[in-house]
Symmetry: C2
Subunit: 506 residues, 2 copies
C-alpha cells in the first residue's frame, strides 16, 4: 500500500524540482520539440515536399541524432555526422561505381565484400582509445555506407542516392544548429565556467564540513562503518558534492572540448578563448580535493584519536581551515567575476595559520607521546628510567605552552583547559573501549597467540599511539592541502592572465 | 622531419599491439562485419528482396545500432531498441489514425503538434538522472515516431509503415543477437570477472610500487611537482592502473548491468548469478584504493620525512606491505579460480605485521620528536631545561629499542645502524635544504614579516616536525589500509557464498 502513494505524486514533485533546478533543461526540451517540428513541416507542408521529396525524412533522423544540450556539443556532433556521412558517401560512390562497371554477378559480390570490410574496419577503429570520442562518427560511416550502396544497387545510381541523402542531412543539420544557436542558446563555455566555480565551492564546503565533523564528533554517535552503505554518508552533503568533483574530470573535459567549437558569446568575447585552461585549473583543484578525501577517510577511520585530544587543537585547526576555505572561495569568486586580483594577503594568512597549527602539533606531539608514555603505569620500559625526572622535564614545557597558546582574548579556552585536566583518564578510558573495534575479527586469535615480543610494549600502547597519530595524520593532510593551494593560486593566476580577466585596482 | 617518421609505422605498431592485447577486439570487429554482411545479403540477393522489399534497409540500421561488444550489452541495446520502437509505433499508429479520422486541414496540424510534444517529452525525460542509461531508447522513440507518422501521412496508412518497420527491425535485431551469441561470444560476465581480478592485482601492485618508491627515494631525484604534468607519473605504471581502478565504478556497473541480461554460460552455470555482488566487492576494493591514493599523495608531497628516517622503518613497512599485498593477491586469485578458502592465517599475519609497525612507530615517534627537540642547539625553549637530563632519559630507551629491533638474523641492519649514526646531521642538512621548497612563493614575505610569536619556537623546527610527521602519516594510512582489508575479506567471503564458489578442503 506504500507503493501507490509513492508512485505518482512524489515522482512528479521530483521531476518538478529537477526542472526548476535548472530551467535550461526545460528550454532544451522545448527547443528539441521545435526543431523536430520545423523539420517535419518540410514534409507535412505541400510546397517543400514537392521540392525535396520523401528523402527529406533523413533530415528528421539528423536532427534527432545531432541535437545536443549545448551549442558546442551540437557543433561537435554535427562535425561527426557531416564527416561520417561525407566519408561514407565518397567511399560508397567510388565502390558503387566500381561494382557497377564490373556488372553482372561480380557487382553484388564486390558490394558484399566491401560491406564486410567497412564493418570490420569501423568497428575496430572505434575501439582504439584515441578514437573513442568519435564513436558515433564511425557508426554513422558504417550505416550510411550500407544504406547508400544497398539503395544504390536496388534503386539505380549510388551517386544520386548519396546526393539526396547529403542535402537532406545538410538541411537537418542546419535546422538543428540554427534552433540550438539562436533560441536561448545553452553555451558549453558558460556551463564550464559555472561548473568550475561550483567545484571551488564544493571543495571548500567539503573541507569545512569534514573538519567540523572531526572536531564535533565525540565518538558516541560515530556510525559503524558498514559494508553496504560504505560509499554513502547521508549526513554529509558537501562530501558527496566533493566526490562528484573528483569524478568531474570527464565532464570538464567534454565541456572544454565542446566549448572550443563555440563562437565568442556572452562574457567570453575573445576569439580562441582558453577553455582548456579551465580544464587545467580543474585538474589542480582535483589534486587538492584528493587531500579532502584522505581527510574524510581519517574522519571515518576505525582508529580514532580521542575526542579530547582533537579538541585541544580545535582553535588552530579551525583557523587553518577557515583561512584555507576563504582562499578557495575567493579564488572561485574571482573566476566567477572574471576578475584578477592579488591573493598575497590571503595566502599569507593561510600560511601563517598553518604554521601556527604546525607549531602547536610540534609542541603537543612531544607532550602527548611522552605523556602517553610516562604517565602510563602499565609501561614496562619507562619504569626502568626515572619518571620523576621526566615529569620535571615536561612541566616547564607545559607552562610554556599555556602561556603562548592561551591569549586572553580567547573566552572559550577555559573549557578546553578544564577538559584537559581530566585528559589522561578520559583518554585511557576512551581508547580502551575503542581499541577492540580494531582488529575486529581477529582479536581473540591474537589474544591467545602471544605473538612477536608481546611483553616488550603492551599492544594497548601501540594502538593508543596509532590513535594519537591519527590526529597527526589529520593535521599533516591539512597542511599538505594548504601546500597544494600554492599551485592552485598559480593555476588560477595563469588562467586569468591567458583569459585576460580584468585587473582589479588595489 | 620527426613527424612523418612517427605517422605511420608507430601507429600501425600501436594498433597491432592493441589488437594483440585482447584478441576479442578483432573478433568483435569481424563479427560486426559478418553481421552487416548477412543483413545486406537480404537485399543483395534476389529471393529475400522479393519477399521483404526495400523496407529491409531498416534492418541494417538496427544491426549498426544494436551490435555491441558484449552479449549482455547487445541484449540491453536490443531491449532499448525494441521497447523504443514498439512504444513509438503504438503512439504513431494511435495518433496517426486519430489524425486521419479528422481529415482535411486538421490532420497535419495534429501530426505537427504531436511531434512537438513527443520531442519535448522524450528530450526532457532522458535528462532525468534515473533515465540517463536509456538515453538511446528515447532518441529511438523520437525519430521512429517522426518517421512512422510522417511516412504514414505521405505514403498511406501509418499502420502498414509501422508494421513494415517493425518486422524489418526484428530481423535486424535477430541477426545481431544470433551472430553475437553464437560466434565467439564475448560475455559481459566474463569481462566483469576478469576486470575485478585485475583490480585486485592493480591495487596490490600500486601499494607495492608506492611503498618501494617511498623507501627508495633519497630526495635527489625527487621530481618537481609541476603544474602541467601533475596528473601524470610516467615512471609509475601501477599507480596509473590503480587510478583507473578508482574510475572503474562506472565500468563495473555497466558490465554488471549487461551481465544480468546474459544466460548461464561458461563457468557461470547458475541462473541469476549474483553479478551485482561483484560490483559491491569492487566498491569495497575502491575504498581500499583511496588509501593507496593518499599514500601516493604523501610520496609526492612537498614536505617529506628525511630519507634516513624513512629507512629506519624500512623492515616493518616492507613486511606490513608485503603481507597486505599477498592477502590482496590471494583474494584476487580466489575470485579468479572461483574458489572459497580460509584467509584466517594470512589475515592474522597482516595484522601482526601491522601491529609490529605500529609498535615500531610508537617507540620511534617518541624518540624522534624528543631527539629532534633535545639535540637541536637552536632550540630556545629546551635550553631553559636541562639537556643533559633529557639525554639521560633518552639513552636507555635507545638501547632498549636497539635490543628489540635488532634481531641477529637481519644482515642489512648494520647499514641502517651506520646510517642512523650520522642521522641528526643528515636530517638537519636535508630539512634545511628542503624546507625552502615550502612555502615556495611566500618565503621571503614571511622572512620579513616576523609574524606570530616567531621567537617562541623557530619555524624551522615546526616544519621539521611536520616533515617527521609525514612519516607518521604514511604509516597511519598504511595501517588504515590494512584495517579496511577486513571489510574486503568479508565482502569476498560474501561473494563466494552467494555465488557458490567451491569450498577448498583444508
Amino acid at each position: 500500500s506504500s507503493k501507490p502513494s509513492f508512485s505518482c505524486k512524489e515522482w512528479i514533485l521530483g521531476v518538478w524540482k529537477f526542472a526548476k533546478e535548472d530551467i535550461n533543461r526545460v528550454l532544451y526540451s522545448l527547443k528539441m520539440g521545435f526543431a523536430v517540428l520545423l523539420v517535419s513541416l518540410l514534409i507535412l507542408c505541400q510546397a517543400p515536399y514537392q521540392v525535396f521529396g520523401i528523402n527529406i525524412v533523413w533530415a528528421i533522423l539528423t536532427v534527432a541524432i545531432m541535437f545536443e544540450y549545448t551549442v558546442g556539443a551540437t557543433f561537435g556532433r554535427g562535425f561527426n555526422r557531416a564527416f561520417g556521412t561525407l566519408a561514407a558517401a565518397i567511399l560508397a560512390i567510388a565502390i558503387g561505381e566500381l561494382a557497377l562497371s564490373t556488372g553482372g554477378i561480380a557487382e553484388p559480390i564486390i558490394i558484399g565484400v566491401s560491406i564486410f570490410i567497412i564493418g570490420f574496419v569501423t568497428s575496430f577503429i572505434k575501439l582504439l582509445p584515441s578514437f573513442v570520442p568519435y564513436e558515433s562518427g564511425f557508426r554513422i560511416i558504417l550505416f550510411t555506407y550500407c544504406l547508400i550502396i544497398v539503395f544504390g544497387y536496388r534503386m539505380g545510381s549510388p551517386f544520386r542516392t548519396a546526393m539526396d541523402r547529403l542535402y537532406s542531412i545538410a538541411i537537418g543539420g542546419l535546422i538543428a544548429l540554427t534552433v540550438n544557436l539562436f533560441i536561448f542558446p545553452i553555451w558549453a563555455g558558460e556551463q564550464l565556467h559555472k561548473e568550475l566555480v561550483n567545484n571551488f565551492n564544493s571543495v571548500a564546503d567539503a573541507l569545512e564540513e569534514c573538519v567540523k565533523k572531526y572536531l564535533e564528533d565525540d565518538g558516541s554517535e560515530h556510525p559503524e562503518f558498514s559494508n553496504t552503505v560504505m560509499d554513502e554518508f547521508p549526513d554529509e552533503p558537501a562530501y558527496k558534492k566533493c566526490r562528484s568533483t573528483l569524478n568531474s574530470s570527464a565532464k570538464l573535459e567534454s565541456l572544454g572540448n565542446s566549448a572550443k567549437w563555440e563562437p565568442p558569446h556572452g562574457r567570453f568575447q575573445q576569439f580562441f578563448y582558453p577553455w582548456l585552461e579551465y580544464v587545467k585549473v580543474g585538474a589542480v583543484l582535483r589534486y587538492c580535493a584528493y587531500e579532502v578525501m584522505a581527510l574524510h577517510g581519517i574522519l571515518h577511520s576505525e582508529i580514532q584519536a580521542p575526542y579530547n585530544l582533537r579538541i585541544t587543537f580545535q582553535k588552530e585547526i579551525q583557523e587553518a581551515t577557515s583561512d584555507a576555505t576563504e582562499l578557495i572561495r575567493y579564488l572561485g569568486k574571482d573566476i566567477c567575476n572574471m576578475r584578477r586580483s592579488l591573493k598575497t594577503s590571503l595566502l599569507k594568512r593561510v600560511h601563517s595559520s598553518t604554521e601556527r597549527l604546525q607549531r602547536a602539533i610540534k609542541v603537543h606531539s612531544y607532550l602527548l607521546t611522552s605523556a602517553n608514555e610516562l604517565h602510563d603505569n602499565s609501561s614496562h620500559t619507562i619504569s626502568s628510567t626515572s619518571p620523576d625526572l621526566s615529569n620535571q622535564l615536561v612541566e616547564p614545557y607545559n607552562k610554556c605552552i599555556e602561556q603562548s597558546y592561551n591569549p586572553p582574548s580567547q573566552p572559550n579556552y577555559g573549557t578546553t583547559e578544564l577538559q584537559r585536566g581530566s585528559y589522561h583518564e578520559m583518554m585511557r578510558k576512551q581508547s580502551r573501549s575503542r581499541l577492540y573495534s580494531w582488529p575486529s575479527r581477529e582479536v581473540e586469535a591474537f589474544e591467545n597467540e602471544g605473538g612477536f615480543s608481546s611483553n616488550f610494549i603492551p599492544r594497548m600502547q601501540a594502538l593508543q599511539s596509532t590513535a594519537t597519530l591519527s590526529l597527526a595524520t589529520f593535521t599533516s593532510l591539512l597542511v599538505e592541502f594548504v601546500a597544494r593551494l600554492d599551485r592552485l593560486v598559480e593555476a588560477v593566476e595563469n588562467l586569468s592572465k591567458v583569459a585576460k580577466f580584468k585587473q582589479e585596482a588595489l
